[in-house]
Symmetry: C2
Subunit: 154 residues, 2 copies
């Protein structure tokens, strides 16, 4: 009987571990591959990009999945053709120049207006996965200055 109890308890623990697994997977990226580490200096901290679709001459929209590790963020930047962000997982930040910082979570959607400086990234304690949908028919992204630690924390 003791053996049966041990087995039952082990089963309970095993199911308990399994039950938490999707949450862990989810924090990493639940839909798209994580892609390659971003090595350019437009980002601070550790971030990954999986390009999902390139723009072309007939369809000027590119789509990419970005995974920000906790604390990672872009520089301030703007898009001449605008951008739409889809929150896929985790907890992230989005801020437009002159506006308060907003929190983005799974399922949240944000439009970055054309030519408005903004930045986005992860919160300090959670990774953030976003899909960025960027229109390039009016020009490429213009990169500006770093997001200071006080701007990030505010």
């Amino acid at each position: 009987m003791k053996k049966a109890l041990t087995l039952a308890l082990s089963t309970a623990i095993a199911f308990s571990m399994y039950a938490q697994e999707p949450v862990e997977q989810s924090a990493a990226n639940s839909v798209f591959p994580k892609g390659d580490r971003i090595r350019n200096d437009h980002f601070k901290g550790t971030a990954y990009l999986k390009m999902l679709m390139d723009a072309d001459s007939l369809n000027p929209t590119s789509v990419g999945a970005v995974t920000f590790e906790p604390g990672a963020r872009t520089k301030w930047h703007l898009h001449p053709g605008g951008q739409i962000l889809l929150g896929i997982d985790g907890v992230g930040y989005y801020q437009e120049k002159g506006q308060a910082k907003k929190i983005l979570r799974k399922g949240d959607v944000m439009k970055c207006p054309t030519n408005v400086p903004h930045w986005h990234g992860a919160s300090p304690d959670s990774a953030f996965v976003q899909v960025a949908i960027t229109n390039r028919h009016l020009g490429e992204t213009v990169w500006l200055h770093e997001v200071s630690n006080s701007e990030y924390a505010k």
Copy 2:
């Protein structure tokens, strides 16, 4: 001891049920709300739309999450400005005129070229959730004829 064993087994069963819950959620739609049932006649079967972002005069891209119940599909149609589909969950179909039907799963990405007739939907045994990214600067979607059962099954 028998009571303890019963408790442990109940715990195991409870965790087992909990462990399966994310999978069921996932099949319904893991990221975005399901939205409202689509009532127009451009679709066959049961499908739901959650508009995520409307196009505007500066950013002509609209984004919507569509959930197709098993067997549901669009009519044949085309987009003057093209479309990009992101597979979010389940198992779906995509076919362009004159091409073989393709299977779409979570994480798959498809570009529907401008003005090329195509259809998409769920497979017969699984729902399919997609994000559709549609450019509207060259005109609205043009709806064509139904996808016949033999086209769907081929």
